[in-house]
C-alpha cells in the first residue's frame, strides 16, 4: 500500500523535517449541490512552516472550515477539488481515504468546534484516546492505557486515571475539549487543525484551551492551523493570519503586522466584532451588515463589495488581485481601496459625519 510506505518514510526520516511543512497552491473546493456548484474555496494559496501557527479567519460561509477539511481530505463525496496541497513535500490532494488514513491522526490531527458532539457519546474516554494509539502505533492493553493516561495528564485533566473509564457526558465542555486535544496529540502529529476550538466554550475556558494548544505546539514543534471567526482568538496565539471571504483569501500577514496595518475593510469589520473584556459575557457582538455572498453565483468584482461601506464602482466591476503591502513584504491583501488609501479616508470621513449627525447607518450603498 502506497499510503503505508508514504507514512513510514516520513517516520524513518525522523519525522517531517523543519522548514515548509504545508504548501497549498491555487486550491479550489467546489460542492455539487441541487442549487448548482458551490464554490466554497476558490483559488487559495499559502504555505506554513513547521512549528508555526496560522490563523484562518472569516465569517461562517467564508470557506475556512472547508479549506481545513480539504487539506485534510475530510470532505463529503460531492466535493470536487483542484490545485495542490503538498504536505512535507508530498502531494496529498486527491489521495483516497485509504491512503489518507495513515496521515490522519498520525501526521495531521483535527480538533472540532463542538466538544459536546465530537466525542462518541457511547465510548469511554480511555477507549477513544487509545483508538489512534492502536491504529497508528500498534499500542494495546496496558501500554495504550498508560499512554492515554499520560496524554490526559499532559492536557491538564485532573484525576486522569478515573477519567479513562468515564463517558463524555460525565465531563464538562472544557474537559471534553481537552480530551479532544489529547486524542489529537496522541500520535504526535506535525500538523494540527483546530476548527473553532473555543467557540462552544465559556470565555474563561477559551483562554485555557488556546494556551494548551500553544503549549503543545511549542513542546512538539507542531504546526497549527487555527480556524476561527474571531480575530480576538487568533491574536495572541498565531504567527500569521489569513483572512478569508467568500471562498477567497483576501488578506494575509504576520499577526503583529496585520493588527498594526490591516488593509481590507473586511478585516477591519471583523476586528470590530472582537468582544471586549469588559463586556458582559453574553453581549451581542457587532456584526457586519448584509449576508455572506452566495457561493453558487458569487458577485462580480470584489466579493465583499456589496457589503462594504467603502466600495466604489470599480469594486463592483473588477476583482482586486492579491498585492503586497508597502508596510511588509509578507503582507498581502486584495482590495482596490485599502484602509489608509485616500479614497478610504474620504469615505470614512463621510461616514463619521453621518454618525455624528445621528443618522442611522446601514446599507450604506
Amino acid at each position: 500500500m502506497s499510503g503505508q510506505q508514504h507514512s513510514t518514510q516520513l517516520q524513518s526520516d525522523g519525522r517531517v523535517p523543519d522548514g515548509t511543512l504545508l504548501e497549498v497552491t491555487d486550491l479550489t473546493t467546489h460542492f455539487r449541490t441541487e442549487r448548482g456548484l458551490v464554490r466554497a474555496v476558490d483559488g487559495v494559496t499559502f504555505s506554513l512552516a513547521r512549528g508555526k501557527a496560522l490563523g484562518v479567519v472569516g465569517e461562517s460561509g467564508s470557506g475556512k472550515t472547508v479549506l481545513s477539511r480539504t487539506i485534510m481530505g475530510l470532505l463529503p463525496s460531492n466535493a470536487v477539488n483542484s490545485g495542490s496541497v503538498r504536505f512535507a513535500g508530498q502531494e496529498v490532494l486527491g489521495l483516497d481515504a485509504k491512503q489518507m488514513r495513515h496521515l490522519w491522526g498520525r501526521e495531521m490531527s483535527m480538533i472540532f468546534q463542538n466538544p459536546m458532539v465530537s466525542l462518541n457519546p457511547l465510548m469511554k474516554i480511555g477507549k477513544q484516546i487509545q483508538e489512534p494509539l492502536h491504529i497508528h502505533l500498534g499500542l494495546d492493553g496496558r501500554a495504550a492505557r498508560e499512554t492515554a493516561e499520560q496524554l490526559l495528564r499532559e492536557v491538564h485533566i485532573p484525576e486522569p486515571t478515573k477519567r479513562l473509564d468515564q463517558y463524555p457526558h460525565e465531563l464538562s465542555g472544557g474537559m471534553r475539549q481537552r480530551v479532544m486535544i489529547a486524542i489529537a496529540m496522541a500520535c504526535g502529529p506535525t500538523l494540527l487543525f483546530a476548527d473553532e476550538p473555543t467557540t462552544a466554550l465559556d470565555v474563561t475556558v477559551q483562554a485555557q484551551i488556546l494556551e494548551l494548544i500553544g503549549e503543545q505546539r511549542r513542546e512538539r514543534n507542531m504546526s497549527v492551523i487555527l480556524v476561527t471567526h474571531d480575530l480576538g482568538v487568533v491574536a495572541g496565539h498565531t504567527d500569521e493570519i489569513a483572512v478569508m471571504y467568500g471562498g477567497r483569501l483576501v488578506e494575509k500577514a504576520p499577526t503583529r503586522e496585520l493588527f498594526a496595518n490591516m488593509k481590507m475593510p473586511y478585516t477591519k469589520s471583523l476586528m470590530r466584532s472582537i468582544p471586549k473584556l469588559d463586556d458582559p459575557s453574553h453581549t451581542r457582538l457587532l456584526t457586519i451588515p448584509g449576508r455572506p455572498p452566495d457561493l453558487v453565483n458569487p458577485p462580480k468584482g470584489c466579493r465583499f463589495a456589496p457589503r462594504c461601506a467603502y466600495a466604489r464602482d470599480k469594486c463592483l466591476q473588477e476583482e482586486p488581485p492579491l498585492v503586497t503591502a508597502d508596510t511588509s513584504p509578507d503582507h498581502v491583501y486584495a482590495c482596490w481601496y485599502p484602509v489608509g488609501s485616500p479614497e478610504f479616508r474620504e469615505r470614512d470621513a463621510e461616514i463619521m459625519a453621518t454618525i455624528t449627525t445621528g443618522v442611522e447607518l446601514g446599507g450604506t450603498r
Binding site: M108, M110, S118, L122, E131, P132, H169, I183
Partner: protein
C-alpha cells in the same frame, strides 16, 4: 431503583387492565355456560335438564341443509343470539349468525344446530351428541354462580398461582396449563427465531446500505424493502411455502410435533422466515436512516480524522448510537409479530399458541383464550421492560 419500581408498577397495572377487559368482555358478551354443557347435537332433549337448573335452553333437531326456521317462540327464551356452526371441515366455519332468531337460511351442507341459551349464544360442533355436563358442578368450577368482580378475582387468584383452569370445551382436558405448556415453547421458538433472523438480516443490510447511501445499490435495496413490506404475511407465507417447500422442496410443508428438536427447528425455518422478512425490511429502513444520520455526526468525522478505517467507523462508532429507534421498534414490533405468528402457524400447521387461540375462539373456549391473551400481554410487557434494560446498557447516559 425508584425508576424500575415505577416501571414494574406500570406493567402490573397494564396487565391488570388487560385481564379485566378481556375477562369482562368474555363474560358479558358471551355466556361461558354453553361450552361447559359439552358438545351436543342431534335431537336429544336437553330442555328438561336445563330448565330444571333454571336455564332456558332449547335444542332443535337435525336441520336439513338449505334453509330452516326457528320454531320456538323466541321471546320466552330471552334469546339474544345464537350461532350456527357448520361441521365437517378442519376449521369449523360459522354459517350464519342469527340475531333475534328470525328465520335464517343456512348455506352449506351437514349443519347441526342448537338453539340459544340465556343470555348468550350457543355454538355446536362435533358430530356426535355427548353428555350434558353437570351444570352446578361447572358453575362452581368456573365460579359462575358468583357476581362478575368475584369471579374475576377468583380467576386471577388461580391464574397467578399457575392454575389456568380446565378448558371449557369437551371434557375440560387437558387443563389449560398443560395445553399452554405444550404450545408455548413452539410459539416462543418461532418468535425468537423470527426476531433473530430479522436482526441478522437487517443489521448487515442496513450497514451496507448506509455505507453506500444513495448509490444505485442502496436505492435498489430501499425499493426491495418497500416491496417486502407491501406483501402481507399470509401472502408471503403462501408464496414461500409454494417456492421453497413445494417447488424446490428444501423445507417441509408442515410441522410435525413428534420429531426431534433439531428437526423441529428446521421445520420452523420457513414459518420464521415468513415472519422475519417483513420485520427485517422494517428494521433495515429504520436502521439505515439512523445510520445515515449518525454518519453525519461530528464524532464520526472525528473518528475519521483519527484514522479509523471505514469498517470500524461503521461497526464501532456508527452502529451503537444508531440502534435506539431500532430497539424501540423491535419491542413494539414484537406485538405485531405475535399477530403474524398466529397467521403463519396456520399456514404451516404449527400447533402453537396462535393456532390454539384460533381454535379456542371458534369454540369459545374462554379459559384458553384468556390464558393466551394474558401470556401475550405479559410477553409484550416483558419485552418492553427488557428493551428498557438494553437501552440503559447501550447508552451510558440513561444508566439508572
Amino acid at each position: 431503583m425508584n425508576y424500575w419500581l415505577q416501571r414494574a408498577g406500570m406493567a402490573v397495572l397494564l396487565l391488570l387492565a388487560v385481564s379485566m377487559l378481556t375477562f369482562g368482555a368474555m363474560n358479558i358478551l358471551g355466556d361461558p355456560l354453553f361450552n361447559i354443557l359439552g358438545p351436543v347435537s342431534g335431537a336429544k332433549d336437553l330442555q328438561g335438564t336445563a330448565q330444571a337448573d333454571g336455564y332456558a335452553l332449547r335444542t332443535q333437531g337435525e336441520i336439513p341443509s338449505g334453509s330452516y326456521t326457528i320454531v320456538d317462540d323466541v321471546d320466552t327464551l330471552d334469546h339474544r343470539e345464537a350461532v350456527l356452526v357448520a361441521t365437517g371441515d378442519t376449521l369449523p366455519k360459522r354459517a350464519d349468525t342469527i340475531a333475534g332468531l328470525d328465520a335464517v337460511s343456512a348455506t352449506g351442507t351437514d349443519i347441526t344446530i342448537i338453539g340459544g341459551v340465556v343470555p348468550g349464544q350457543l355454538v355446536m360442533n362435533g358430530p356426535e351428541p355427548s353428555q350434558l355436563a353437570d351444570v352446578e358442578a361447572a358453575e362452581q368450577e368456573f365460579y359462575l354462580d358468583q357476581p362478575l368482580p368475584v369471579r374475576y378475582v377468583s380467576w386471577l387468584t388461580d391464574f397467578v398461582q399457575g392454575d389456568m383452569g380446565p378448558q371449557f370445551s369437551k371434557t375440560g382436558e387437558p387443563p389449560v396449563t398443560d395445553l399452554i405448556k405444550e404450545r408455548l415453547p413452539r410459539s416462543l421458538a418461532l418468535l425468537v427465531m423470527a426476531q433473530l433472523m430479522a436482526t441478522i438480516i437487517a443489521i448487515p443490510w442496513s450497514l451496507w446500505s448506509a455505507a453506500k447511501a444513495n448509490q444505485p445499490v442502496d436505492r435498489v435495496s430501499t425499493v426491495t424493502t418497500f416491496l417486502i413490506i407491501a406483501l402481507p404475511n399470509f401472502a408471503l407465507g403462501v408464496i414461500l411455502k409454494y417456492v421453497f417447500a413445494i417447488q424446490l422442496g428444501w423445507f417441509p410443508q408442515t410441522f410435525n410435533a413428534g420429531d426431534s428438536y433439531l428437526e423441529q427447528i428446521y421445520q420452523l425455518f420457513l414459518p420464521a422466515l415468513t415472519i422475519a422478512l417483513p420485520a427485517a425490511a422494517v428494521y433495515q429502513r429504520l436502521l439505515r436512516t439512523d445510520l445515515i444520520t449518525t454518519l453525519q455526526e461530528d464524532f464520526i468525522l472525528m473518528a475519521r480524522a483519527k484514522g479509523v478505517d471505514r469498517r470500524n467507523i461503521l461497526m464501532k462508532h456508527a452502529l451503537r448510537p444508531s440502534l435506539f429507534s431500532f430497539i424501540t421498534v423491535f419491542g413494539i414490533n414484537t406485538g405485531a409479530l405475535i399477530g403474524g405468528a398466529l397467521v403463519v402457524e396456520n399456514i404451516f400447521r404449527v400447533p402453537g399458541l396462535g393456532s390454539a387461540i384460533v381454535e379456542a375462539v371458534l369454540v369459545e373456549d374462554f379459559p384458553v383464550v384468556l390464558a393466551i391473551v394474558m401470556i401475550v400481554a405479559f410477553a409484550f410487557v416483558l419485552v418492553n421492560i427488557a428493551i428498557d434494560v438494553i437501552y440503559s446498557l447501550i447508552d451510558p447516559r440513561v444508566r439508572r
